[in-house]
Point group: C2
Chain length 324, copies 2
Amino acid sequence: MDTNNVDLPGERDIREAAARIAPYTHRTPVMTSQYFDSLVAGQVFFKCENFQKVGAFKFRGAANAVFSLSDEEAARGVATHSSGNHAQALALAARLRGTKAYIVMPSNAPRVKRQAVADYGAEIIDCEATVASRESTAEQVVADTGATFIHPYNDRRIIAGQGTAALELLDEVSGLDVILVPVGGGGLASGTAIAAAAVSPSTRVIAAEPAEADDAYRSLQSGRIEPSINPRTIADGLRTSLGELTFAALRRHVDSIVTVPEDAIRTAMRQVWERMKIIIEPSAAVPLAALLLGRIDTAGKRTGIILSGGNVDLNETLRLFGEG
Amino acid sequence: MDTNNVDLPGERDIREAAARIAPYTHRTPVMTSQYFDSLVAGQVFFKCENFQKVGAFKFRGAANAVFSLSDEEAARGVATHSSGNHAQALALAARLRGTKAYIVMPSNAPRVKRQAVADYGAEIIDCEATVASRESTAEQVVADTGATFIHPYNDRRIIAGQGTAALELLDEVSGLDVILVPVGGGGLASGTAIAAAAVSPSTRVIAAEPAEADDAYRSLQSGRIEPSINPRTIADGLRTSLGELTFAALRRHVDSIVTVPEDAIRTAMRQVWERMKIIIEPSAAVPLAALLLGRIDTAGKRTGIILSGGNVDLNETLRLFGEG
């Protein structure tokens, strides 16, 4: 697949996104941990997007997309399909803009996430838990309402918005050797890689992915988008496959992709809870899992990790830790 | 009981403690939450001692006590009895001072806390889970080793150290109407109340206590120390009873004590985990529980809460949530 002509957002788009969303987003803290520093014999800087509005980085992209709309577009609302954080993010962004969000969700989505979307005032439209059902249901919603469809990741505005987290991290922490991000659909990984390439070219960006949902890894190997078929990973935010834009961005700007097994994700997540006293979701633990497995050379280095979110169902997490 | 002549630490002791422990402690962040602000129709400022070294405010007092010792005293080590956070705190402080800590612990103390104490290099001496056994075992350790006994709360150095958290909070957040603290043995409540009275006399200090371990409430009512007999609260840090010093400090400087039922503690704790994405232990949730029950007038007010710690056994806690 020829990705050279794909029109990706650039540094200017990310900087404009940062200014656009600043009134609505948290500038999240960067935390450090002597425990993890000593484990990896280097310095690790955790960008805490679990403290972002709606509990995940996804709000950055959603806010950028919604506040990019013309008043006329905004008046007709926004629509998306999402099993989780993007849904909440778009719902809140729409409410802040004073417009309506139509969220197509699979009926098996976590209870806590469905409730949060409803609490933000969005209209939930149920679909089957398949890509085909999501997409056709969303198309119908757009046809019925005239709402603007905002894809969870394969969208220039979304990618630019997600890149603002790395912009803040690089602004606050100098001389990072590496930034690690989880990769699912690739919005965060793309935005991070574009931002780092522009602002700090010496910083490598490495994406981390569950071995059970290694579509991005396989896609970069084969040179075309290899979708995940019903991936079984606890990292529920990373079950999606790359889109054209994010595939092109990863090819161009990501150094490499590492994959990690499920038990390493669970262990890394639990260690963050116990040692840092913060709640992260399984997807957010994937980069740290790669670090703790020694898959990335961190000795004497300064490594940034974007902790992508903190939305978990506590009872489900109990079962998860109980299995460990 | 006449408490007028009890020699309490004062503002100067707390300021000296702050300077003494600054190289070893974290200046913990103050977090806010729009969710809780809207629930209480006011502003709430959370002083995050769950992010303190060893995961609890206890490290402040322990560090102050250990670094107050003469070199000669320090050479013989320190000793205490504690079921939890004070044990870890003293163990780490001793290690930083380069001396030995002897920790008397009941054999039923949480696994995670015993392990943490051992990891800090302290020597653990087992005792029965009774006050009498703790005290006699600790006395024997002191007699055998010449170590300095550091009581978990009934100690001027400890109280002064605990007061440094409020000092930081009052320095960072102006115009607080109220500060809420949990009360167990009363070290944190005493230090907080002394600090606030000196630095911000218009700030009321209210202590919150589990109804199942309401010894401080009953003690202030009756005018003498009323011990808790085998209290059954999930707030394991608050099962201890007041000492002479802390009783005197509470009488003199605390505005009032409110008590809260167990289910409110569990609910408040869970809400902090879910909404703020931070891990707090049950004891730390007690003041917020009082707030959420409407026991304290917060409408239009600025309320500080000291989140005392974040040390939990995850499996036990997740079971707790499962029961709720």
